[in-house]
């Protein structure tokens, strides 16, 4: 491919592939934990980090890492405090992140908000060698965390109380997952931009779970979809002179639609896949009903029953 003859395209391709692997890997856990939009929140906060980098003339990628990790920890602490007020506190963090980012950039010498655009929407072709080193380091860290702590994170995301009753360090693991998500946000920031970061953590997972039966296979298929989207979007952007970031997200969405269609066409037809329980277990269901006790309406009811 002629696009590989350019140095910047080779760097862009590597960055896109690393993001394609890292973002869905973390994303699967985040989605199962019902924190799909956490990536968006961290992305907003990371903008302040980018602006701090511009202001102090250090690498915006590095300052974004620091600020988004602090932001992720703050989000977890607020979440842990219980529901009351946590929403609003989170909203304050998110909007504070955007507003702080724009204001700090204005203050920066020679800074204009147009500098921020490449971070908001991605600017994969301007990835410097130094950026790439940071991105490689972060992606390795993300994959290492998922490999080492995957079993514990899986149980945490399945049922936090069971995780606690199994002696897992639940608070530490929640923080670890949030911090890993923050690192992923920065990996993806240069590629798809902060506003679309979450898409790569969520959409490939949503696509993969149409086709899989297990958690591990969902992670792996989502990574394949992530890399396909990254490489495909970059190539399409290069060929047609489009912004690669949005092109990557659009390809991920197309993969999702194709996965839904494939599932719909083969429903019940995949080897070993059981049809919906309602259809095949009507008899058993009927028995269930007969023995049933009134189901708790929500989690609060479960607490008091």
């Amino acid at each position: 491919m002629s696009m590989l003859s350019f140095d910047f395209m080779r760097r862009a391709l590597l960055a896109a592939m690393l993001m394609g692997v890292a973002a869905p890997a973390v994303g699967t856990f985040i989605v199962q934990r019902r924190l799909a939009l956490m990536g968006d929140g961290i992305g907003h906060i990371a903008l302040t980090g980018v602006a701090l980098g511009l202001l102090t003339s250090t690498s915006p990628v590095l300052t974004a890492v620091i600020v988004s990790v602090i932001g992720a920890i703050a989000i977890e602490v607020l979440r842990g405090r219980g529901r009351t007020g946590a929403d609003v506190a989170l909203a304050l963090l998110f909007y504070g992140g955007i507003a702080g980012g724009v204001l700090l950039t204005n203050i920066a010498p020679g800074g204009s908000t147009s500098n921020l655009l490449s971070y908001l929407f991605g600017s994969i072709s301007s990835v410097s060698r130094q950026d790439l080193y940071v991105v490689v380091g972060l992606a390795v860290a993300v994959v290492a965390v998922i490999t080492l702590f995957g079993r514990e994170l899986f149980l945490l995301c399945q049922d936090e109380e069971v995780a606690r009753a199994s002696g897992l360090p639940v608070r530490f693991l929640s923080m670890l997952l949030a911090v890993t998500a923050a690192l992923t946000v920065v990996v993806a920031m240069r590629v798809v931009g902060l506003l679309l970061v979450s898409a790569l953590m969520v959409v490939p997972v949503a696509a993969a779970q149409q086709l899989t039966r297990g958690f591990k296979s969902t992670v792996l298929v989502a990574m394949v979809f992530g890399v396909l989207s990254g490489v495909g979007g970059l190539y399409a952007g290069y060929q047609r002179d489009l912004s690669p970031g949005p092109a990557i997200v659009v390809i991920a969405l197309i993969l999702f639609v194709v996965a839904v269609a494939a599932r719909w066409l083969t429903r019940g037809g995949l080897p070993g896949r059981r049809p919906r329980p309602r259809a095949s277990h009507g008899h058993e269901r009927a028995r269930d009903q007969r023995h049933a006790v009134p189901a708790p309406v929500d989690s609060d009811a479960e607490v008091t029953s």
């Binding site: 149980l155 995301c157 399945q158 591990k216 329980p277 269930d288 607490v303 008091t304």
Partner: protein, 258 residues
Amino acid sequence: MTDAVFNLTAGEVRLDGRLVLRGVDLTIWPGEVLAVLGPNGSGKSTLIRALLGLIPLSGGRTEIYGQPPARFRDWRRIGYVPQRLTVGGGVPATVREIVSSGRVARQSRLRPPSRADRDAVDRALAAVDLSERGRHSVHQLSGGQQQRVLIARALAGEPDTFVLDEPTAGVDAASQAALAAALRGLVHRDRTVVLVAHELGPLEPLITRCIVLNDGRITHTGAPPRPVGEHALPGHDHVHPHGPADSAGPLATWEPGP
């Protein structure tokens, strides 16, 4: 007192400002099979979650194997079976993945699952009669089968003490039978079992002690209360709290599944 499994003294729990447990004293000894009965909202689930330290006490104190929950470290001795499978964000998981996660307290981070881990998971699946379903997605199973998966997850950890929150709620007859068989196996191996139930059904002969909760207080301790009249019918979920303590009879008749 240090050899009690759970030791709750004057336990009080407040949820959203409401007193849900009002001064409960409960000591559970090794080898006991204790059933916690009582109507909806009487504080059954709250009681066992307080025993495990999953919700904080607003008064009194509790110990697990002689340690307050915050300082207790030997969690591999405890197997907790929650009321239901959480769906979360809906990412699929296979039966085997869920059951294997019950081994997590026994595994090291750096080592892949060992032969012993895989064997324990195989035994747990067999114990609840789901050996054939290991590769299926849990979300495609019936409610009763999902309940069995959760029990298998606890079994896989090979704990000394099992704490089950309503294992029989909404469970089909085949699953009730599998559950009773699994519990019988535990009782034979002198495990401690604490279970919350609406109805005991086929589990009833295994129970060594019952407590009945009403409005956050223990109102009955002793043998399982005897059902009266139509209360004995299967599917009837009302528990009669004031049965004579000495007359242990079947709470509900149970027909084996097809």
